[in-house]
């Protein structure tokens, strides 16, 4: 607990300093503070914090706003990102999103290899009999994302699994968001397969 609190405080402080009061583009050190402590070296993700490198900029911007508005409300968002984005300015937010999007991304490759084929089938075709939509329709054939729809390719198995479970549990992002309904149809096996497959995708 102590460790978590101090981590949270550190993140929040650094982030607030780096982002909150500045109207100019975020300096490289600002990103490092944010990513080094929380989202891993070069924003590749670490532990519970997802990779931000190479993510769709509009998606990053929307999520930062959602944290700021507190509409994205799962436990880890509450614990870390709400404070981190408390003083976030629009221009800083945009600059940050663009800079993170431009960073090269490495796949996490931490999923279960034996489930990759099943996961790919589900990702590309869905499962009409079980009323599971094909993820490609929104996320693209390589899970590359578009506009404010996130890139999923190469995100960590742990992160993807957690998010899919959270959707089904009723946590929110924005209104009229399709993911909660989509995720409710997924079985535990489906989630394992999808998260595993995606963690290997470039």
């Amino acid at each position: 607990m102590m460790k978590l609190i101090s981590l949270k405080t550190a993140c929040a402080t650094l982030l607030a300093c780096a982002l909150g009061l500045s109207a100019t583009p975020v300096k490289a050190s600002g990103i490092d503070n944010c990513t080094g402590f929380c989202h891993g070296a070069a924003a590749q993700g670490i532990a519970q914090a997802p990779r931000l490198a190479g993510q769709k900029p509009l998606y990053i911007a929307r999520q930062l706003r959602a944290f700021h508005d507190r509409s994205r409300d799962n436990p880890l968002s509450r614990q870390y990102m709400w404070y981190a984005t408390e003083n976030l300015q629009d221009e800083t937010l945009r600059a940050l999103a663009l800079q993170l999007a431009a960073l090269p991304a490495t796949p996490a490759r931490d999923g279960r290899p034996e489930l990759v084929t099943a996961g790919q089938t589900l990702f590309e075709n869905g499962s009409p009999e079980n009323e599971i939509v094909a993820c490609v329709v929104c996320h693209g054939p390589q899970g590359e994302g578009i506009r404010d729809i996130p890139r999923l390719g190469g995100l960590s198995y742990e992160y993807l699994k957690r998010r899919l479970l959270q959707w089904a549990e009723g946590y929110h992002a924005t209104a009229l968001h399709p993911m909660p309904r989509v995720a409710r149809r997924l079985s535990a096996d489906d989630i394992e397969a999808l998260a595993s497959y995606l963690s290997f995708v470039q």
């Binding site: 869905g126 009409p128 693209g140 590359e144 399709p178 079985s187």
Partner: protein, 215 residues
């Protein structure tokens, strides 16, 4: 198992229990179908939008709200019969029991939703001219003659009002390779092949912008 599936099973069990007292087996079937229908509708809406207004995913997913029921049913049948090619939709449509086609068509035909929008507004005036007058020199008929003044369609002629402009352009561009495939003479969709062939890309963009803006 996932919560949703559990819920569906419980619902079905209750439905069977409730209908046990009723006269016929077909009451049970009807009640089960209600749950199955609602579940299917929700599934459609995951991509086609909460109000059937369409959605811009990686690909544009078309508006279904207010669609002509006969057109809707025809598309379901066409895809299953291999006359309409759609990589994304064919398996989904094959999973819909034939008895569910009409209720789905009716449901979506009754939805009311504002157009999703997003088309370039400077193309709308040119699009309106094509829609209302056609392009006689290029052998493009006036869309309005069949699709109606408000582009709401008629029987087997689809509603275009409020359709996503990028979707309209995509369908017109790919008409020859997607529609009226392996079909006998009777497929009404062949009517559009000429129109699609005679429109230039920029004319498609204009008319798509116009119809996408219609309420």
């Amino acid at each position: 198992m996932a919560f949703g599936k559990r819920l569906a099973l419980v619902g079905a069990a209750l439905a069977i229990a409730w209908s046990g007292a009723a006269a016929a087996d077909d009451t049970a079937v009807a009640k089960l179908s209600d749950g199955a229908l609602r579940s299917k509708i929700e599934y459609c809406k995951m991509c086609h939008g909460e109000n059937g207004q369409g959605f811009r995913g990686f690909v544009p997913v078309p508006r279904l709200a207010g669609q002509q029921p006969q057109y809707f049913e025809n598309q379901l049948q066409s895809a299953v019969a291999g006359r309409r090619h759609s990589k994304l939709m064919t398996d989904i449509l094959k999973s819909i029991p034939p008895s569910m086609r009409r209720p789905l068509a009716v449901h979506f035909s009754q939805l009311v939703a504002k157009p999703l929008g997003g088309a370039p507004r400077d193309l709308i005036a040119a699009g309106r001219k094509i829609f209302e007058e056609g392009i006689p020199e290029a052998n493009v008929p006036a869309c309005m003659a069949c699709h109606g003044e408000g582009a709401k369609g008629h029987n087997e002629v689809p509603r275009l009002a409020g359709q996503l402009d990028d979707y309209v352009i995509s369908k017109l561009s790919n008409w020859g390779s997607e529609r009226g495939q392996a079909s006998a003479e009777a497929d009404p969709v062949r009517i559009m092949a000429v129109v699609a062939r005679n429109l230039t890309r920029s004319q498609m963009s204009a008319v798509a912008a116009y119809v996408s803006d219609q309420p």
